[in-house]
Point group: C2
Chain length 569, copies 2
């Protein structure tokens, strides 16, 4: 409903209103609202530059272990909270956000701070209920040491969600070039350092449950949280890494030796199911803030799904998912090779989502990972290439990077500085335009996308869309996609290519409309126009599929033609 408003407004306006809208200048105040729309930087911070993926994740994990998550009274004075907490130890970082109430993420300089805080922490005394006395690092701050003023809280709250699509479109419409729009889109949607810290903290809290039985295990986030392409509000995929449990010995010493007596089960899969079953039970029964726990143990990849209320994350916990982790590392590496990679991937993912090419429910839809593969493959094919092939990444690897998972060579270089490519200076606008054109005409019926070689190869098997799994050569990462969904993807690429090619959407705004509220708003153009959900799509989303669909391309074409006509006034 909300998503369709951008389009319906156009329909209500006269052509003269639209032209006027496009001709007016943006007011500076609009540009600065909300999350900064400055040109995005390869994330994360400068201090992280030069670190390998593994080192970076390990540092974040370690910082999370020194952190606590504290629910604060609604009117919290940051200064008083910090003063109170710092009695327990030096605080390295702290930020506040609004979720189910106000929360603070507090990172102590070391774990002693947490120990000291825990010693001062009491179990709640409940009058008419009972409580499970499980002590975690999820705490409630109580008392009257809070902001006593009646005004709005002075607290700086960090947003943990991406803006509604209409707000995003408005923000993009206010930019002055497509390149700026793509940078703005990325910097608006990308995970903030705070959100990543919160994600690692949730992993660490879940680790306290799983680690109860397996002290040496680790819970690692993978996928969007760490691959450089995560969007605020995306699911938190985590996996329980039991491989870190030490002490498997293959050689038998000559004299006496001791072994742990352990439960024997039929397969590793059974181990995974057992472990996830107990951890899921623990989450459900003990872990504060974990709700809606579902054990989906008979899936191909057994998982426990739950909502972590204090952070607002929807979590999927799997086990021993090391290939997925390596895929995350690969994407992260590619996201850091050239900043245009992230801009294109964020755009293509957002565009696909708006048009229903991807979905949050399983089915024949293309996945974000497959979309990223398409972008990577496209960028590998530029002249000169913007991204290296996977074989090149493997060839650059040092002996220490050697990695074999379940018989598959997953070796890739870890040192980013080793990746040296000939300079390619194509603007993002060109790349986006040509991305859509490339996949408008790609021979999907015969050819497979192969990012290992960086070229198309003949399909090894029948599948509407064939994208070779980068680390499991025999697998097709998009085998779920059916012909109808592929056709939609190709049709939308064609339509978007056409839109970008026919200058209409690429004209920067020359009009500003003063809405009834008095706030100046730019009309969607360029990338913003590509993100407008069509009426038909919006209707489809709402289930009103009976309404006759006009092809989106036709509809937008006529809209653009009408914009190019001289105004009636």
């Amino acid at each position: 409903m909300a998503a369709s408003m951008g389009v319906s407004r156009f329909h209500k306006w006269s052509n003269g209103q639209l032209l006027k809208y496009f001709r007016r200048k943006l007011t500076p105040s609009l540009r600065g609202t909300g999350t900064s729309a400055a040109v995005c930087q390869p994330r994360p911070d400068h201090e992280d530059a030069g670190k390998t993926f593994v080192v970076l994740q390990e540092e974040r994990r370690e910082r999370a272990e020194r952190s606590v998550l504290i629910s604060c009274p609604s009117k919290t004075s940051e200064k008083k909270v910090l003063k109170f907490l710092s009695k327990h130890g030096a605080i390295n970082n702290c930020f506040f956000y609004d979720g189910y109430g106000t929360y603070a993420v507090v990172e102590f300089a070391n774990r002693d701070g947490i120990h000291s805080l825990h010693e001062a922490t009491s179990l709640p005394s409940v009058l008419h209920e009972a409580s499970v006395p499980f002590k975690s690092r999820l705490l409630n701050l109580k008392g009257n040491g809070v902001d006593q003023s009646n005004g709005p809280t002075s607290l700086k709250l960090h947003t943990q969600t991406s803006p509604p699509i209409n707000d995003l479109i408005q923000r993009l419409a206010a930019e002055e070039s497509i390149d700026q729009q793509l940078h703005s889109l990325t910097s608006t949607l990308e995970l903030t350092n705070e959100n990543v810290a919160l994600r690692f903290l949730v992993c660490s809290l879940i680790k306290d449950i799983a680690g109860a039985f397996f002290p040496e295990c680790t819970i690692r986030p993978f996928g969007s949280t760490v691959n450089g392409f995560g969007k605020l509000g995306c699911d938190l995929d985590l996996f329980l890494d039991l491989d870190s449990v030490s002490g498997s010995s293959t050689k038998r010493p000559s004299g006496l030796s001791v072994e742990y007596q352990v439960k024997r089960v039929a397969s590793e899969r059974t181990v995974t199911q057992s472990v996830l079953s107990v951890v899921g039970e623990g989450l459900e029964q003990f872990a504060p803030g974990c709700v809606g726990v579902q054990k989906i143990l008979n899936a191909r990849c057994p998982l426990v799904r739950f909502s972590h209320q204090p952070s607002g994350f929807q979590c999927d916990l799997t086990a021993n998912n090391r290939v997925a982790m390596k895929s995350s590392e690969l994407l992260w590496l590619l996201s850091r090779v050239d900043e245009r990679v992230r801009c294109l991937v964020f755009m293509v993912r957002s565009w696909a989502r708006v048009h229903g090419i991807t979905s949050s429910i399983p089915g024949p839809w293309i996945t974000n990972f497959s979309l990223s593969m398409l972008v990577v493959f496209f960028l590998q094919g530029r002249s000169p290439p913007i991204l290296p092939t996977l074989d090149q990444l493997r060839d650059l690897a040092s002996p220490a990077d050697k990695c074999v998972i379940e018989g598959n060579d997953c070796t890739i270089v870890s040192d980013l500085t080793k990746i040296q490519l000939e300079q390619n200076t194509e603007p993002l606008e060109t790349l986006l335009q040509e991305f859509f054109e490339f996949y408008s005409t790609f021979p999907f019926n015969r050819m497979s996308i192969n990012i290992r070689k960086g070229k198309q190869v003949h399909k090894p098997e029948a599948a509407a869309l064939h994208i070779q799994n980068p680390f499991e050569a025999g697998q097709n990462v998009s085998k779920n996609v059916n012909a109808a969904q592929l056709e939609r993807l190709v049709a939308l690429c064609r339509e978007s290519a056409w839109l970008l090619a026919h200058g209409g959407v690429s004209v920067p705004p020359s009009t500003v409309r003063v809405a009834s509220s008095g706030v100046a708003k730019a009309a969607p153009w360029g990338v913003a126009a590509l993100l407008l959900p069509s009426v038909a799509e919006a209707a489809g989303v709402k289930g009103r599929r009976k309404k006759k669909r006009e092809p989106a391309s036709e509809r937008i074409k006529s809209l653009l033609q009408s914009l190019n006509k001289p105004g009636k006034k």
Copy 2:
């Protein structure tokens, strides 16, 4: 089947054979076999004398935490095993037993020994299976550093089970007085120090599972394991004590304060169910050696039942069962006041079990606890009393002994030395005889057994058998017993009183029969004769209830009369 052999043998013998059997002297070699039949001492060891119940249990718990349970190859050389293990730390105690294979219980002088051993312990490498990498203190000793000789193992194995009833009867028949028989019975059946240590070790291993989530919790054995009346092979009742989880605060500090965020549930019962559910899941999925895990969470007292294979214990795990713990302390205290108490309780429990008055399955049968209450009440009524009343135990308590559980005053003195009674020198034979007579004529229809006052009081409510719960005055500990079972109890008391009063069974053996094997065997007499299962009972146990029953008293009376006749020879 085996249990009825003692009687059937009598039936096959002529009276002459029987008399000859009674007249012959015991061979000394028989007296010394198996567990020593020496006069039993108040258990446990001298070093424990003067310690309170709580201190004693705490010491045992602490020792268990420094212990490991190790499965050893069948031909283990004790010396080599100890040499190997002591590389990791000084060993305070070690013993071996046979269960599912040979096991060693090894108590290190401190936990460093366990840490060192764990560091040298590997996870098993399994070829065609997988294993859950849960690291516990249940280990396997591997390798070839064992006894290479082909002879029987030189290892001293401590038995952890009570002998079959026939062996017990034979052993008792060889004693020379009823008092000696009762002491022998007790010392044969009672828990050994090793068995108690093994029980505490199993609790400690289970604590490692529950403590994963609740590090401050404790698993405590209660009932037979600690109440002084435990029999080798009895079930291990344990409870998860969450009350030891610290940090419940009722007062609110004036400034800011921190509380743990916890799951809120409807009641303490729900907490118990949650905790037992997760612990049960952990036991089933991870804990080596725990098999047949049943969660019985909807019972009045929710519990998890399982078998601990390496120790052979059938375990019932409940939670927050503090009244049951206090009852165990009460029995333990009474068992230490006078050594005759344990002898009588062991006898009455064994006698009840042989005759099917108690049962291992729930139902209308009288429980061991109720039987103990009957013995205690009887001994309180002797002149002078052999046991103090519960009110006296309360009046002797120091302020530190004050104990209120769920509103009930459960205060009893902890210092044994404060209990001073006038000397009663009645022999055990008299006490046993009079116990049976007392309950043969007790007005169960009107009166309730009240060990708090040490006298019978009018029944407060309808129930076949009414024994006031010592710590919950409103409760009847034997409300499950129906009229039929009470009648059986009274009838058997009458029969046994008659048997003891009519000297036949009290004549020490004057005959020994040399069996075909050449081993001399004494005929059952005295206490041994009371423990003979009647043919009818044995048939009943086997389900052959159609066989017409001859009243046991009649049967044994005629047997005795025949014995008193002069032999035909």
